[in-house]
């Protein structure tokens, strides 16, 4: 069965800006995964692929300024589909926060529901930016 194991957004220093776990992990294990992902991703440069093997899985990642957006999936899953899913998500964040920057994620950490609109239970839930943004604006207007 194919699904996303976790989504991580980290900065270059390894600080986690967002983490969604789609499997049961205990806290120690989460911390270890965060460190390992940081270690494998940050050593790679622009000439490398956006994919890296990770334990029995693979990480699809893309770097935006100082942030690494990483998705961990099964080895036989579709690399490019997830790579563009990351970009699609980033475009939504950018629109929602009007030129998103790392600080937006720090101060609005409780708005991770944005992720749930697009990814749920380790699957892609919605891909239309228009629909997601409409929903987010609607939620924003609620008290």
């Amino acid at each position: 069965m194919v699904w996303i194991r976790f989504i991580l957004i980290q900065n270059r220093a390894g600080k986690t800006r967002l983490a969604k776990w789609y499997m049961q992990f205990d806290d120690d294990e989460k911390q270890k995964l965060i460190e390992e992902v940081h270690a494998v991703v940050t050593v790679r440069d622009a000439k490398h692929t956006n994919f890296v093997e990770f334990r029995n899985f693979k990480i699809i990642y893309r770097r935006y300024a100082g942030l690494y957006f990483c998705i961990c999936v099964d080895v036989n899953d579709n690399n490019l589909a997830y790579l563009e899913a990351i970009h699609n998500f980033v475009e939504v964040l950018n629109e929602y926060f009007h030129n998103v920057c790392e600080l937006d994620l720090v101060f609005n950490f409780y708005k991770v529901t944005v992720v749930d609109e697009m990814f749920l239970a380790g699957e892609i839930r919605e891909t239309s930016q228009t629909k997601v943004l409409k929903q987010l604006l609607m939620l924003q207007s609620l008290e």
């Binding site: 692929t49 579709n78 690399n79 749930d116 239970a121 699957e123 239309s128």
Partner: protein
């Protein structure tokens, strides 16, 4: 502070976050947090009821503190209160808090579930989605129990909003993955399939994921999804780039939905309905056509989205493996990508082509790209891309290009990254063996491997070259000459010394005629390496020396001098000391004839087919030679490398093996020559590793991190097969997977045994809570006593721990004890249950007996319960030598000149248990025409003879019916034992000790070479 500008910002929270960010030190941060915690606690405890906004703000602060890595032990109740707020923002924070900080406090769970239930029933889509997302994020069994029945209803209800349906589908998916038993199948399933037709593409996107997951377990129930998926796909693929509006991504219509639909179709074989199939093939062709069209945008997003669909389409084409035209087109398309400027595309093309290479339709097309791939191996900057190139070369290799590929890989090895050297070494070794046309090329290749990357040449690889040289007399002289030359290099790898030592010890005589490699030269060359080598290598060299004494009598005095030296005879290492002492004694006391027999050339190694390759061949038919079984997922496991075609017997020269005790007789008849194609002649060393990567857990989730069952689980499926390998031998690898290797070394004497288990951690990570235990199922407790010593609970990465088991057979037993191994690897509990290789025949002691005694006793044992007969088909060519070796390994003495028919085998022995001893007689009558063996055993209970060494016990067998003999039980398991001993898995030659280990000469039957 950008956040504060937002309308719903919580000012206090933003200030707090800023404060934390401004803290100069960890201490300052902790101080600030503690201050805040005290503040929040006092607010929560205060008399004044907090309003919703304040509650939300404080709960949010607690959450932030938790996310910084601090423990939070209060505030849960306030968070749960927020769930019942009717304000979205408050509810949302409440749900967020419990999703992140859910604990199993039963009181709270009840309240939480209650709130969720209310929201699910609220008909407010926003609240329903919040509740569904919470269930999906937590995904616990408790939530499954509470809601699994409700969610299908919400999913298919006519009045559910689209966004609710989307969330419900995925929420259900999560619950189904976590606990499939909780999700009831029912009439809703049919309606779920029809969601593929839904107007709303978002609903379809979510529903496809759910259906894909459900149909994997119940393919028949969801069959109708195939035609629906095809028509949906067809509509998307044929739509213009703007038709789908919201769902068009950089001019590509619905890329993610297309990928998901293509993946769903990969759960099924090609559609049977011709119309559906035609429509699907049209879709696949359209995708391939579009790949050739000029891009509609220069953005990478456009090409990525387009190619995501293309790669998934190719996966489906490969999955069907039935459309030659599409396969070749796919291959050509990937060929273009091999030289694309995007590294991602080159990587993916190499990866995808690897699977195309295994299809008979596209194998040739893949081969045309060999030069590009070799170039990639040399020039790619990203090691993972080079690795894919190596995989592809391996996959496209066949007889026509083997030499080129092997030599390129060898060249690459000189500069290859450390991370992939071992893998390349294995690949080269397999290819060299699989496609060897002449064996000198094979020998050269392996020796080159050792020269270039000796550290990465695992034991299996160099054992294998020895086996092949031993089994092929036409290459022995060449091998001797080549190793002799290789050893002359000033610095040569220790593995080279091992191979050289072994080969010269066996075949040094073939080059001794040349004065440049005369016996004394050979000896001094080897001995010049001796002192720098490890204990294991020195032990091997000592065996070479004693072999030299036999091969070259003129070296005897020199070698005895070496053996006699204090550094050997009093070596601190017992193995070296023992070898020196025993070899020295042997060389002085044994006559030349005895020496010649004992130190005879090694007999050919038995042939085994690689189980994995056989499986692959059955599935794919001929042409599947280029293996899909690339080892990149786990470079450390060797069992994937089954690389050999099925092997008829390869015995090239009958080799009468050493036989001191007169137990083995005539040499085996020369086997019929193998069919043409030299590659066929090789056997597979890699099948020695037992199971093909038995995973520790059944599901992918467990493979990552599995909660261990509380009780010891049932033995792994391969347990019986693994056990069978040890019926006739005492040493070897009992189990191996990616994490762990378990080796066994055991010795048995009378009714006692000692077993050493070696647990090797194959990873680089420490195993924790490591605890192997032995369990006696059923009545075994009263039949077999096993004492175990505890082992350390941590096993460092790469380390091995040893456990000693003392075993006493109290009475006869049927089932072996179980070995349960548990540990934590990377935080994940692992558990594994095996059958311990202790079978009744381990306590079987051989007994010699004359012909007339035998038949007299045979006739006496005539009651039905004293006899067991079984006729079975031989799985192997019935080779007399092999059969004898197996019977001996089984524990019985072989009696010559007893049966009037020389084809038959006759054996006798005593099963030793504490309570009593049981004499057993055995006859095996092979029927070569019918390939049938008929075996019969008779035995009888008798009283213990007081701990004396077994006199010819069978000779004193007299029926003592008053003492109930245990034969009825024995009868039940003897027939299977007979079957085991002739089953094909057994390997007998070269495995070390036979019989009790008490004398000097016992082990000389086969020298413990390796």
């Amino acid at each position: 502070m950008p956040a504060v500008s937002k309308g719903d910002g919580m000012r206090g929270l933003a200030v707090f976050i800023s404060d934390i960010r401004n803290c100069k030190s960890k201490e300052a941060e902790i101080k600030r947090i503690n201050k805040e915690l005290a503040n929040i606690r006092s607010k929560f405890k205060g008399d004044k009821a907090l309003d919703g906004y304040s509650k939300k703000k404080y709960v949010c602060k607690l959450l932030f503190i938790f996310l910084l890595g601090h423990d939070i032990d209060f505030g849960h109740m306030e968070a749960v209160n927020l769930l019942s707020s009717n304000k979205y923002t408050e509810k949302q924070i409440g749900y967020l808090f419990i999703s992140v900080l859910v604990n199993s406090n039963s009181e709270l769970i009840r309240l939480i579930n209650n709130a969720i239930k209310n929201d699910l029933a609220s008909r407010n889509p926003t609240f329903m989605c919040l509740a569904l997302h919470c269930i999906a994020n937590v995904g616990s069994r408790e939530m499954g129990e509470a809601f699994a029945a409700d969610i299908p209803r919400i999913l298919v209800a006519g009045d559910s909003m689209d966004s609710v349906k989307q969330s419900a589908a995925l929420c259900l998916l999560r619950l189904y993955k976590a606990s499939p038993d909780l999700v009831p199948m029912g009439e809703w399933t049919a309606r779920v399939v029809h969601l593929l037709n839904d107007q709303h593409m978002g609903v379809v996107t979510a529903a496809v994921s759910l259906i894909t997951c459900l149909c994997k377990k119940n393919p028949d129930d969801f069959k109708t999804c195939v035609s629906l998926a095809v028509s949906r796909l067809s509509r998307i693929v044929s739509s213009a780039s703007t038709d789908l509006q919201d769902y068009t991504y950089y001019f590509v219509p619905a890329p993610w939905l297309s990928v998901k639909l293509l993946r769903l179709l990969q759960c099924y074989p090609p559609p049977e309905d011709a119309a559906v199939k035609g429509r699907l093939v049209e879709c696949l062709e359209t995708v391939l056509n579009k790949a050739q069209e000029p891009p509609k945008s220069k953005k990478v997003q456009h090409s990525n989205a387009k190619n995501a669909i293309l790669f998934e389409t190719i996966s489906l084409i490969i999955h069907y493996d039935s459309e030659p035209n599409l396969l070749v087109r796919a291959c050509n398309q990937l060929g273009q990508f091999l030289q694309h400027r995007e590294t991602n595309l080159r990587y993916l093309a190499l990866e995808s082509m690897c699977t195309l290479a295994s299809s008979e339709f596209s194998h040739e097309a893949v081969k045309t790209h060999i030069d590009t791939v070799i170039n990639a191996l040399k020039t790619e900057r990203d090691v993972s891309v080079r690795q894919r190139a190596a995989d592809l070369l391996y996959a496209m290799c066949d007889r026509s290009n083997a030499k080129q590929i092997v030599s390129e890989m060898l060249r690459y090895l000189e500069t290859a990254d450390y991370a992939i050297r071992e893998e390349i070494v294995l690949k080269v070794a397999i290819l060299a063996e699989k496609y060897a046309v002449d064996y000198s090329w094979y020998v050269d290749t392996i020796l080159n491997l050792i020269r270039i990357a000796g550290d990465y040449v695992s034991e299996e690889v160099w054992y294998r070259v020895l086996q092949i040289v031993t089994n092929r007399d036409d290459v022995q002289g060449y091998a001797a000459k080549t190793v002799f030359e290789a050893l002359q290099a000033p610095a040569c790898h220790e593995n080279m010394v091992k191979v050289g030592g072994y080969i010269l010890g066996e075949f040094g005589n073939l080059i001794a005629g040349d004065p440049r490699s005369s016996p004394p030269v050979q000896f001094s060359l080897l001995h010049s390496k001796f002192h720098l080598c490890s204990v294991a290598t020195r032990a091997l060299l000592l065996s070479t020396y004693i072999k030299f004494i036999n091969l070259f009598p003129e070296t005897k005095a020199t070698i005895q001098g070496v053996l006699r030296a204090g550094s050997q005879l009093r070596n601190a290492d017992v193995e070296l000391q023992q070898r020196a002492v025993e070899y020295l004694t042997l060389s002085s006391v044994a006559s030349t004839d005895v020496l010649a027999t004992v130190l005879e050339e090694m007999p050919p190694f038995p042939e085994r087919e690689s189980s994995i390759l056989a499986k692959l061949k059955r599935k794919k038919g001929p042409g599947a030679g280029s293996a899909l079984d690339d080892s990149r997922r786990d470079p450390s496991s060797h069992d994937i490398n089954g690389g050999v075609e099925p092997t008829p017997s390869t015995v090239s020269t009958p080799s009468p093996s050493a036989d001191l005790l007169g137990l083995r007789a005539a040499p085996p008849p020369a086997a019929p020559p193998a069919p043409s194609g030299a590659g066929n002649l090789l056997v597979d060393v890699f099948s020695d590793s037992p199971a093909a990567q038995p995973g520790l857990g059944p599901s992918p989730e467990e493979a990552f991190l599995s909660p261990g069952p509380e009780d010891i689980g049932p033995p792994i499926p391969e347990a019986d097969e693994l056990l069978n390998k040890f019926v006739c031998r005492n040493n070897g690898v009992l189990f191996e997977n990616q994490l762990l290797q378990i080796g066994v070394k055991s010795e048995f004497r009378q009714n006692l045994g000692r077993m050493y288990l070696f647990y090797g951690n194959k990873t680089s990570v420490q195993f924790q809570n490591f605890s192997p235990t032995v369990v006696h199922p059923g009545d075994l407790q009263t039949q077999l006593a096993v004492q175990t010593k505890r082992v350390a609970s941590q096993v460092d990465g790469g380390a091995q721990v040893q456990q000693v088991l003392n075993i006493e057979c109290l009475r006869d037993f049927l089932t072996p004890p179980l070995l349960s191994v548990r540990f934590r690897y990377g935080g994940a509990p692992q558990s594994l249950t095996l059958k311990l290789p202790v079978t009744i025949n381990k306590f079987f002691q051989p007994t010699e007996m004359a012909a007339q005694d035998f038949f007299q006793r045979w006739k006496q044992l005539s009651l039905p319960q004293q006899e067991a007969q079984k006729i079975f088909k031989a799985n192997h060519p019935m080779d007399a030598e092999v059969t004898k070796a197996k019977l001996l390994g089984f524990g019985s003495a072989l009696l010559d000149n007893v049966d009037p028919n020389p084809e038959n085998f006759v054996g006798a022995g005593i099963i030793q248990t504490k309570a009593l001893q049981v004499g057993c007689l055995l006859r095996l009558e092979p029927n070569a025409q019918a390939q049938v063996q008929w075996s019969e055993e008779r035995g009888e209970g008798m009283q213990s003879v007081g701990g004396q060494a077994p006199q010819p016990v069978c000779g004193t067998l007299s029926r003592q019916q008053q003492q109930q003999p245990p034969w009825p039980q024995l009868q039940r398991h003897q027939p299977p034992s007979c079957a085991w001993l002739l089953s094909p898995q057994h390997q007998v030659a070269g495995s070390g000790y036979l019989g009790p280990v008490d004398g000097l000469f016992c082990f000389l039957l086969w020298l413990p070479w390796l």
